[in-house]
């Protein structure tokens, strides 16, 4: 065997990549080393000290903008072409490159740190027969390591043995695939026998052959050869890196894949780089600008050719042409010269500034205390710093339900027992008292088995129970008996319930605290501690829950021998089966139920029935026959159940609250006002989702209609969707109106946009999983999109993670709207990645959603602040920045264009070279940054007050191609003024002492001073929010300009760098002239006045929402925030039997079968509660049921 192995070893060793099969031997490092498998060290960093500079520069020059500027710099070195000194481009380029390099270096240092941290984690490794602490990075393939409870799995391991019976191991795979339910892995019996016997493990020399490293999380194939025997290995025997060991004291594993070969690392591929719509627009615009630049230069080059042939050739006496240069060559050269002069149309600082602004706005998000959640000490986090302005343009929000809208905590909230409602507090006058955290809680300390986390406020209920009220006792006895919860009592008195649905857990816990403690169960009995007294009920039958029955019953025999059927279920179903004598009680209970449903509580009706022994015997006989029947078993059973579940006596009703996150309804209302459409995509079943839809105010009673699409065929779905659409808009055409367009760089992208359609009211749409699967098919998806987009609210139930992403992509593709996905679980990851913006709810157990998100915070309600305040501001700031920035640079550059007509198209610049160098870098950099980091049109509170302020962003109103063209026109006007007013004022004039002032240098100084002053005033006009910083930046920059100008034009600078500063004395000689200042004044005014007049007229004639709010803000104080009233709906709607599980445990409970099976694996994980990481303060405790309850007997 060893011979064969070594043979293979040689074979494999010689083989180069790619690896075809992995072959390793346990505890044999030297053997395994021959294959040169990667060890467990990981490296996510990109550079080291030596490679940093070349690699980073290489990467940076791959960016178009940087390469362009490099190209410009090369052009400037050519003397025939160079119209500007090399430093005008080199200085900004260096600046930009170094800033980016510093940022990259910083990022990489962080990556190094996190790599180090992970690599230096300690794990127990079996070396030379002893367990030794070893760093993760030193773990090799073939090592045997020991993991303890709650430890991260070090590498991809083959499970050898564990502390649990049957060599089971429980792992949480949240980091890997996000599913928070525990998974079970089981070791092979051969290896499991070794247990924690170190000697046995050290002597273990099994050989593993398996697949090469890959990224499939759900598959593993391989074999283990041990002592000549070969066993197959599959995914159940492998622990993957990234998982966490849970509920398992220890386990031993053999390292199969290490570090970069692990499935986790193989999966962490490149993240798709998200770009904002402004980015796309900017790319298009920059391209347009390049085109524009080229055409301008062509025009000027042609001008140059004409001038050279007409004037220049005559002028040779004074200005000879260089040798071998004729007018056509000169024109060609002047084209490139003008490319250099006019390159400021696309200034390098644009990209840098944009990044800085986004970074600044991201910091403001990180720093916001109003998005900080104190309970989990979680601040909001902008994980991607390049998407901020997109937050101000969201049109669709896709939200997960559990854990995002709801806390996934069910609380027993209210109940109605034989016509008496409990759970609310009233003061002396009989008014309802709002229950807050300070309200006194009912003391359950008398009951030693009570769950300490259970909270209830109404004392009357407990008193009623203690008084021995038979109805109340029966009520809780029912709750303690009629369920499929499994108890778990590891220590005496420490009772945990494992309920499949949190609702059941809540009900049983309620019963437990009110003195009816469900203690243990066997397939044939249920032990309950009733008011401190242990009572064992004989369990005769469980009439299980299913979707059609919407109820479940148990039949038990009390120790006294009384036979009773307890039934709980959807109220409508129960009421149909009541004894006529309950009629009065039904009426009262019904009103209570209506109240509960109105508050969005999940309700259940409870009823019981005493049974005859003889009837029961006979029924049981038939039940046995039916349950063993070979044909139509289900139908027969159903009939039997129908037969026995009638003439019930009503006990009352329960109301369980699926606790929403704080502020969810208010947030949704605000977002709806901001014209954002919210779609809930949940894995829950329809009733639950609908229920939440009501309680968080998405579905409303006022809505004209709520359509439910639940067909099971493609045709059915199509018909239902079409019917819904026709109802909403009778004129709706059969074919969607699709606008086809082209977009993107070079107009290469084809886009199709489905137009919004007019609707005559508010509608809601609920679509279930089956229908959604059909609706997402190619031929139906437009149908779905049209119908769904006409509705105010869309709720999709039973959605798989893939479908979530599909829905997002559908909207993205056909609506060209900005989408946001918010979720907390790993099943939301696909949707978070698919949407333009992904938001993760942090502070929960699984971090997967957060890790792949762009923004994260702890509570859903912060979404409104993120969008309505930060998003809006970011968008506003970015748009203002872009408009101003383009204006600033166009104006700057166009002046050169006009000057070309006066300098023989010779690419002479209007301004001093130093001014050109410093204009974007210094003189205007800080003020515009100040504007675009601090500006706010209205403050956050007004933003909340008027959510409609958000809508301009959705419609791209602040910056678009149109705005860009407007901006260009404005620049054109300004540049005309900026050139021709000084021209008219200065040509042919002199100083007040008769000397020169119309010389080139004085003119340049005048033109650049005018420009800078006009730009400062324009900036001031655009600034709506003048903080001290803004003031400082604006005045400081102006002062800086004058200071720098005077310095550079001073004697000293000239004497030191004679050729660099030829403008000596210009500032002194011309800025002391009154006519120069009069010209500056006139120019500035002429540039600004039309803008002011135009803006004023716009405000007067067509004020925007922003203008109105700003006006209002000036006149009035902010209205005090109205205290949110808990909306109480008068509802005729009745919530269904709201259990969130699909199938009952009934069969399992009564049979021994379940005891051997592992339910987690049988359950289709994606369709159940997997999107619900458990909140920490959850009263119920869920664990995989694997062990046999003690004392169970065979049925």
């Amino acid at each position: 065997m060893g011979l064969v192995a070594s043979f293979f070893g040689q074979l494999c060793g010689k083989e180069k990549k790619p690896e075809e099969e992995r072959h390793l031997r346990a505890n044999d490092r030297s053997f395994n080393l021959t294959y040169q498998y990667a060890n467990n060290a990981i490296k996510t960093s990109k550079y080291n000290i030596l490679t940093f500079l070349p690699r980073n520069l290489f990467e940076q020059f791959q960016r178009l903008a940087n390469a362009y500027f490099l190209f410009l710099m090369i052009l400037q070195v050519i003397p025939q072409v160079s119209s500007l000194s090399w430093f005008t481009t080199a200085v900004p380029l260096m600046f930009v490159l170094s800033i980016t390099a510093v940022k990259d270096a910083n990022d990489d240092i962080n990556r190094h740190k996190s790599d180090n941290q992970v690599n230096n984690r300690i794990v127990n490794v079996l070396v030379d027969g002893k367990l030794k602490n070893e760093k993760w990075m030193n773990v090799q393939v073939g090592d045997i390591i020991k993991l303890e409870n709650n430890q991260f799995v070090t590498a991809d391991l083959l499970l050898l043995s564990s502390s649990e019976p049957l060599n089971l191991v429980y792992v949480e795979t949240a980091e890997l695939d996000g599913e928070t339910n525990l998974k079970v892995k089981q070791a092979l019996t051969v290896t499991g026998e070794m247990g924690d016997n170190i000697d046995a493990l050290a002597g273990f020399n099994g050989e593993v052959r398996c697949e090469p490293p890959n990224n499939r999380l759900d598959k593993f194939t391989g074999t283990l050869s041990l002592n000549g025997q070969t066993a197959a290995l599959d995914n159940d025997k492998v622990l993957l890196r990234g998982c966490t060991l849970r509920n398992t004291e220890w386990c031993f594993g053999l390292v199969i894949f290490g570090g970069p070969d692990t499935k986790l690392m193989q999966n962490s591929g490149k993240t798709t780089f998200k770009r904002t719509s402004i980015d796309h627009l900017m790319n298009v615009l920059v391209l347009c600008i390049f085109g524009f630049l080229a055409s301008m230069c062509t025009f000027l080059a042609i001008g140059n050719a004409i001038w050279e042939s007409r004037e220049g050739s005559m002028f040779v006496a004074f200005l000879p042409l260089e040798k071998g240069v004729d007018s056509s060559l000169s024109s060609f050269l002047s084209f490139w010269s003008y490319i250099i002069v006019l390159n400021t149309l696309v200034p390098i600082s644009l990209y840098v500034s944009v990044e800085i602004i986004r970074l600044g706005n991201s910091f403001f998000i990180d720093w916001d205390r109003k998005m900080y959640y104190p309970k989990s000490d979680t601040p909001a986090q902008a994980r991607t710093t390049t998407l901020n302005e997109e937050l101000g343009q969201i049109k669709y929000i896709f939200s997960d339900k559990t854990g995002t809208l709801t806390q996934n905590i069910m609380t027993f909230n209210k109940c109605s027992i034989s016509g008496k409602a409990y759970g609310e507090l009233f003061d002396f006058t009989g008014h309802r008292v709002e229950i807050t955290e300070k309200t006194e809680k009912v003391d359950f300390s008398w009951n030693q088995l009570a769950d300490p986390k259970f909270v209830f406020h109404d004392h009357r209920l407990l008193e009623t129970v203690k008084e021995g009220n038979p109805d109340a006792q029966a009520f809780f006895r029912l709750l303690a008996l009629c369920h499929t919860v499994m108890p778990d009592e590891k220590k005496e008195g420490e009772l945990y319930y494992q309920a499949q649905s949190p609702d059941e857990g809540a009900l049983v816990t309620a019963a437990r605290n009110f003195g009816f403690v469900f203690r243990s169960r066997t397939p044939e009995s249920i032990t309950v501690v009733e008011m401190g007294k242990q009572v064992i009920y004989e369990l005769l039958a469980v009439l299980d829950f299913n979707n059609v029955r919407k109820r479940m019953s148990v039949i038990v025999r009390s120790p006294e021998g009384k036979l009773t059927l307890f039934c709980k279920g959807a109220d409508t179903i129960i009421f149909e089966r009541l004894h006529p004598s309950c009629k009065k009680l039904v009426e009262v209970t019904n009103t209570h139920l209506s109240d509960y449903a109105g508050e969005g509580l999940r309700t259940l009706a409870l009823a019981y029935k005493d049974l005859d022994e003889s009837f029961m015997d006979e029924w049981k006989q038939r039940h046995h026959e039916a349950s063993t029947a070979l044909v139509e078993r289900e139908e027969k059973l159903d009939e039997l159940y129908e037969e026995i579940e009638k003439d019930l006596l009503l006990l009352g009703a329960t109301a369980v609250e699926d606790k929403l996150q704080d502020g969810v309804p208010q947030t949704i209302e605000q977002l709806a006002k901001a014209d954002i459409k919210i779609w809930v995509l949940t894995g829950d079943k329809q009733e639950t989702a609908e229920n939440i839809g009501y309680s968080c105010n998405m579905l409303r009673e006022e809505m004209k209609e709520i359509f439910i699409v639940a067909a099971n065929t493609a045709e059915g779905v199509k018909e239902e969707l079409q019917n819904a659409r026709r109802k909403m808009s009778s004129s709706s055409a059969d074919k969607p109106s699709v606008i086809k367009a082209r977009a993107g760089l070079f107009w290469l992208q084809k886009t199709e946009t489905v137009q919004d359609e007019e609707v005559d009211g508010e509608y809601g749409l609920v679509i279930n999983g089956h229908s959604l699967a059909f609706a997402l098919e190619k031929d139906l998806q437009l149908e779905l999109l049209r119908t769904a987009c006409m509705c105010q609210t869309v709720i999709c139930c039973r959605v798989t993670p893939l479908q979530k992403a599909q829905v997002v992509q559908l909207v993205k593709k056909y609506k060209q709207a900005v989408t946001l996905a918010i979720g907390d679980g790993a099943n939301d990851v696909s949707m978070i990645k698919a949407a333009h913006i992904g938001v993760g709810i942090s502070g929960q157990e699984g971090m997967q959603a957060v890790l792949s998100s762009d923004f994260s915070f702890a509570q859903f309600r912060y979404l409104q602040r993120l969008l309505l305040v930060h998003g809006r501001w970011s968008y506003l700031r970015m748009c203002k920045f872009l408009q101003y920035f383009f204006y600033k640079n166009f104006t700057f550059t166009f002046v050169h264009f006009w000057y070309a007509f006066f300098c023989g198209f010779s690419a002479q610049t209007v301004y001093d070279e130093w001014f050109i160098t410093l204009y974007n870098l210094m003189y205007t950099a800080l003020p515009v940054l100040g504007l675009s980091i601090f500006d706010q049109d209205v403050n956050d509170r007004w933003s909340f007050q008027y959510p409609q302020l958000y809508t301009p962003g959705q419609l791209n109103q602040y910056f678009s191609k149109k705005a860009f063209v407007r901006c260009m026109m404005k620049s054109c006007y300004s540049s005309l003024i900026l050139f021709f007013i000084p021209w008219a004022a200065m040509h042919d004039t002199v100083r007040d002492d008769g000397k020169d002032i119309a010389d080139y240098q004085s003119f340049a100084l005048l033109a650049q001073t005018c420009l800078l002053i006009v730009m400062s005033i324009q900036l001031s006009l655009d600034t709506h929010y003048w903080t001290a910083v803004n003031q400082f930046f604006v005045w400081g920059s102006l002062a800086g300009y004058f200071a720098i100008t005077f310095t550079m034009y001073s004697n000293g600078m000239f004497l030191i760098f004679t050729s660099a500063f030829p403008f000596i004395g210009t500032a002194r000689n011309s800025l002391n002239q009154p006519n120069v200042w009069l010209t500056i004044f006139l120019t500035s005014l002429l540039c600004i006045l039309p803008v002011v007049a135009f803006r004023f007229i716009l405000i007067q004639l067509r004020p925007t929402i922003n203008d109105k709010v700003r006006h209002k803000m000036r006149k009035e104080a902010l209205p005090a925030p109205t205290k949110p009233v808990r909306v109480k709906r008068i509802s005729t709607r009745r919530s269904g039997y709201a259990f969130s599980h699909s199938q009952g445990y009934g069969d399992l409970v009564t049979s021994r079968k379940f005891l051997l099976k592992i339910p987690v694996r049988t359950r289709p994980a994606l369709f159940t509660e997997t999107d619900s990481p458990l909140a920490q303060n959850q009263p119920q405790h869920y664990r995989t049921i694997t062990e046999e309850p003690e004392g169970s007997q065979s049925p």
Binding site: L660, N1051, N1075, L1086, F1096
Partner: protein, 371 residues
Amino acid sequence: MMASSYNAKDEDGHITVTGPGGGTLRSKKPENTAFKQQRLPAWQPILTAGTVLPAFFIIGLIFIPIGIGLYVTSNNIKEFEVDYTGVDMSSPCFNCSQNFSWNSTTPCTCTIPFFLEQPYESNVFMYYGLSNFYQNHRRYVKSRDDSQLNGDMTSLKEPSKECEPYAYHDNKPIAPCGAIANSMFNDTLELFYNDPNGTKVQIPLTNIGIAWWTDKHVKFKNPGAGEANQNLTAVFQGTTKPLNWRRPVYELDAAANNNGFINEDFIVWMRTAALPTFRKLYRIIKSPSNGMMPTMPRGNYTLEVVYNYPVRSFEGRKRMILSTISWMGGKNPFLGIAYITVGSVCFFLGVVLLIIHHKCGNRNNSADISN
């Protein structure tokens, strides 16, 4: 069980996480500074009728008087201009302009009579004006060596490459090098007053104080300016004069403080013009010291031109300009007219805006914002 009432206070940062040791617990809670919370105190101006309308009226009211003042001042400035290019056959300089050659040794002189209708008081400034002369052409502007002009000995011997093709001639460095220097204006203009009694009096022209002080004293220096008893001829030994020049640079003027690179005519020429039509100060006619007589009384004058400078080839024009000046410089009616126009437009706009505001503004602004 508790009703979850959304409490805005939660979010206002009133909950403080403090550890048992008096806040030693490090919480990730962001700092509560005005900067980080974006609550910096700020002035939030908006364009209201109350600010915009008065601004327009005030600007109008300020600009119109300034404009009138400027216009009047400009009108009071006396200016006389003679075009002596000699384009027309009738022009006295026609012959000179036709027979031009750079190398001609015999100067061509022409005489232009003119009549001043008004007496010119105080200092009168005499300019030469050139049109269609592209002193602002890129290749022209850069064709100089500032170091050489600043008296740097190395640059004197090795002129900068920028001066090409006027850097070397016959393997000798050109001083001053470059196209600008090479094309220096070299007409000589002289003015004569024809006394009513028939005598022809030459008017004294000052050629000192026509350049910027900074240019004369800082920017331009003769090589070896610091040494005592400098001999310009010796200093410029080994260099050659610019091609078009008739005399070397050290023979520009007899006066030592106006010779070589610091010759003011040269300095004035070297300050290149921004636009292709420009005027440059040529001479100053100082007002007589007694001040009783006008500097240039009304009457007949003669301008004698030694015609050296060719401009016909590129359709240029040469002018001689006599001008007085005021506090706002030379004659330029543009500023005055522009100020009056802008002031009036402002005023008019103010009225229009007022009407607009009256008719529409109140309606729109008081309208409630629909929710």
